[in-house]
């Protein structure tokens, strides 16, 4: 259609309605859901509640676990030994995966997590994965060219820093403990947790520096 042929104003937003055609997998998901409800295996409300719970998860629990590890070396040792048990001490549920593994970044070692086969992710501690984590581009490139990918995220690492990519494609889930930023010695555990971002626990960024945190506060609407 020629642009000049119609005279109504264009709505710059995408239409707020369903696409007409469901994809194959969407149709299959709906069919399985309808069958489960019809056979009495699950109720529609149970499915809704589960989705609501999944959507409401945030990276807050993961951030609190990292902040505790920064201030308590004994806890950090337990987190590195058995992360599932360690986060349970804090009252956090690490989800359905049988094993949670925490890996620690240091000045000479940088860990980053990807799932090349799908989108395995410690959802219970970090919430739903960001879209880019599930993208084919990240999943394929993070293993082949991790330094190039990190650079696109704004993180340039020196050649003498060893980069370790964890491809979490089986029963394990991985959580990165980012380095504690310098200049945070005076901060409380709760303040420290606010520096631990989702991306820093995936390993595509460092934890937020205190001065960046101050910038964010200054920029936030009152």
């Amino acid at each position: 259609m020629n642009h000049e042929d119609h005279d109504h104003a264009h709505d710059r937003h995408a239409p707020i309605e369903d696409r007409e055609e469901l994809s194959y997998y969407e149709k299959r998901t709906w069919a399985i859901q309808a069958l489960l409800v019809e056979k009495g295996v699950l109720t529609a409300d149970e499915i809704r509640r589960q989705l609501e719970m999944a959507d409401s998860r945030t990276p807050a629990d993961g951030a609190k676990a990292v902040a505790r590890a920064w201030v308590d070396p004994a806890f950090k040792a337990r987190l590195l030994h058995d992360a599932k048990a360690a986060v349970a001490e804090l009252g956090f549920d690490s989800g359905e995966a049988p094993v949670l593994v925490a890996v620690e970044n240091t000045p000479k070692l940088h860990n980053v997590v990807v799932c090349t086969l799908c989108s395995c992710y410690p959802r219970a501690l970090l919430g739903l994965p960001p879209d880019w984590y599930k993208s084919l581009s990240y999943r394929s490139r993070a293993v082949v060219d991790p330094r190039g990918v990190l650079k696109e995220f704004g993180l340039e690492l020196e050649p003498d820093v060893e980069v370790r990519v964890y491809d979490s494609s089986a029963d394990m889930r991985y959580l990165v403990i980012p380095e504690r930023p310098p200049g945070t010695e005076h901060m409380s555990e709760a303040e420290l947790a606010s520096l631990v971002t989702r991306d820093s626990m995936i390993g595509v960024a460092k934890a937020r520096a205190p001065e960046q945190q101050a910038d964010l506060k200054a920029a936030a609407p009152a």
Binding site: E162, Y166, S168, S169, A170, M172
Partner: protein
Amino acid sequence: MAAKFQPGDKVRIRMGSPPGHFRTPAYVQGKTGVVEALHGAFPNPESLAHGGDGLPKQFLYLVRFDQTHVWPQYPANLEDKLLIDIYEHWLEPA
């Protein structure tokens, strides 16, 4: 049932693409790595994915590879590593 491999052992990832579901990415098949850790034994996902019971359980290992070995074009001066979880039936001694 005892685990066939221990941390420090050199292993080669088998080649294969069995029909259905498997969790050993093609890019590490045929490559040689070192067992970094033994995670334990877990139901076999290749059976679970098709309504099976996942038994016998399979030992699951964290295997470490040199990036320069996995990707010929990887910059040779870097010590970077790739770590990936692989089930025992995909491993052979190297």
